[in-house]
């Protein structure tokens, strides 16, 4: 960048994280800077490594069920659905339709909760405090709905082998009706506060652009990938639970910069809202739990791979069973891990001030990276 070779510049190293607030948990980067430019970024992960996979191998399937919620605590419903789906596929259990709808509905509520956090935190990272309060206001509504059914606000432990833990309480229906009614206007609020904000646009538009082939090569998935223009969403392309019946059209954008990654999530909130509405309207009657499914199953030997579209992307679980009551191998393919692996390439050559928007726009959650 230096035009005048007479000016002597020197590179220096800055350590960012693991306690830096905009690293969303514990992520550490060693940045080599030349003035305001990032020359090199050395990412360090693993601070939150709990060895989830080893723990799964040492526990009964039912014992790991509440643990699964803690893999990605902002989208815990997806982790436990993947866990139960894998067991159900190996045991060849057909889940009752009502349970499928309930799972789908709560996954979408959980997705909205997760995206609300993204909206709030991303804006907070860029210095705007108000959106944070807005995002948490609507997150509270979804949390209430989840709490009145599962009893928990964050790690729900709601899904069971062959169904769900509990049917909806009576008070759920007026509450969800209220939520469905107010939510679109709240998303409009979000859009009005940020979408055309001069500072927000200056810091996100054209920053951290990722072309589709590069994103695919790095194994990017979810809203990040769709913001780069790849039309792929498991809910549309490989539907599971009730998504096949409900139908879903993914949000696909094209430019792949920080702004579009933000926009993709905002639009997904609307799409999730439409799905929740459909779920409530089309909720079939019947049992919520398949009968005669053991709580302590001996899962038949075999191998299965389950993919779930979590708020962060393609959440996969590769389960190898040897016919006992504990998993033999429990491989988690977590979306944040792959989404974050590009960080070195993304940050090379950008300005210091762009680090936070780029990192924030990936919506990475560290327990999901480190497992």
């Amino acid at each position: 960048m230096a035009t005048d070779t007479a000016i002597h510049t020197e590179e220096f190293q800055v350590n960012m994280g693991p306690q830096h607030p905009s690293t969303h948990g514990v992520f550490r980067m060693v940045l080599t800077l030349d003035g305001e430019r990032v020359v090199e970024c050395e990412p360090h992960i693993g601070f939150l490594h709990r060895s989830m996979e080893k723990m799964a191998e040492n526990r009964l399937y039912i014992q790991f069920l509440p643990m699964a919620d803690r893999i990605d605590y902002l989208s815990s419903m997806f982790c436990s659905v993947a866990h139960c789906e894998a067991v159900e596929q190996l045991m060849e259990i057909e889940v009752p339709p009502r349970a499928k709808y309930l799972r789908t509905m709560f996954m979408e509520l959980n997705r909205i909760a997760s995206h609300c956090i993204f909206f709030g935190i991303f804006a907070l990272d860029l210095g705007a405090v108000t959106p944070f309060l807005y995002g948490f206001r609507e997150r509270e509504l979804t949390m209430d709905l989840l709490e009145m059914t599962s009893g928990q606000r964050l790690t729900f432990n709601y899904v069971r082998f062959g169904g769900v833990a509990a049917d909806l309480p009576e008070s759920f229906f007026p509450a969800v009706e209220k939520f469905v009614k107010v939510f679109p206007a709240r998303v409009t609020d979000y859009e009005r506060i940020l979408n055309e904000n001069e500072i927000f646009l200056a810091r996100t538009k054209g920053v951290g652009v990722v072309a589709a082939p590069r994103a695919v090569n790095y194994g990017w998935t979810g809203p990040n990938l769709r913001a780069s223009g790849v039309d792929f969403d498991l809910r549309q392309n490989m539907p599971y639970e009730a998504y096949g019946e409900l139908g879903y059209k993914p949000v696909v954008l094209s430019r792949g910069d920080c702004y579009e990654r933000y926009l993709a999530r905002l639009l997904e909130m609307r799409a999730s809202h439409a799905l929740i509405k459909k779920c409530v309207e089309g909720l079939p009657e019947g049992p919520t739990q398949k009968e005669k499914v053991s709580k302590f199953p001996k899962v038949p030997a075999g191998e299965v791979y389950v993919r779930v579209e979590s708020p962060r992307g393609d959440y996969g679980l590769h389960l190898v069973s040897d016919g006992t009551d504990k998993p033999y191998r429990y491989k988690l393919r977590t979306p944040s891990f792959n989404n974050l692996s590009m960080i070195r390439e993304l940050l090379r050559g950008v300005y210091l001030a762009d680090i936070v928007p780029i990192f924030g726009s990936l919506d990475v959650i560290l327990p999901d990276v480190d497992r």
């Binding site: 693993g46 490594h49 080893k54 194994g219 490989m238 692996s341």
Partner: protein, 164 residues
């Protein structure tokens, strides 16, 4: 779109790599092809570059430890956005000092994925740009996902612990 059936892809791989294909398993719930460990990268390149297969997305790389058979099985799971088909490749390596060719130059995602396998299983990847531990801390001993690694009696940093 369902993409090509497994038999077809497996047939193409077999025609192309012949002797390097150890086993074709269609009966498994996830059908797979087992190749020799040194052929992993060649197969990966073919899967990626062959236009009729177009496996552009490496979903994950992992390993499964089989102490009874004295082997570690590497697992590569591919997906194609164009055709929407999945394909699994396996390769067996030794439990101690197992080596496979790295695919990080073909799939950037593999750079971290292979580091993870190295960290947790101790398998080395030839030609990897930066094969260091990724999840466990510096100075960590052992590879936690091996079956003979017992978490209960494990002391993370023995030399830093006070003497009993």
């Amino acid at each position: 779109m369902a993409g090509l059936p497994f038999e077809h892809i497996a047939g193409v791989i077999k025609d192309r790599f012949g002797g390097a294909v150890v086993e074709t398993n269609e009966g498994n719930r996830i059908p797979f092809v087992r190749v020799q460990a040194d052929a992993v990268a060649r197969v990966a390149r073919f899967l990626r570059d062959e236009p009729s297969l177009a496996f552009d997305y490496l979903m994950y790389v992992t390993a499964v430890d089989f102490p009874a058979e004295d082997k570690i099985t590497l697992v590569y799971h591919y997906f194609s956005y164009k055709y929407e088909h999945m394909f699994m490749v396996k390769a067996d390596v030794a439990r101690r000092g197992g080596v496979a060719r790295s695919v990080a130059h073909l799939y950037a995602a593999a750079e971290w994925l292979e580091r993870e396998v190295y960290d947790l299983f101790g398998v080395t990847f030839d030609g990897h740009p930066n094969l260091t531990r990724i999840l466990t801390p510096e100075g960590f001993r052992g590879h936690p996902l091996l079956k003979d690694f017992k978490s209960d009696d494990y002391v993370p940093f023995p030399d830093k612990m006070p003497a009993k």
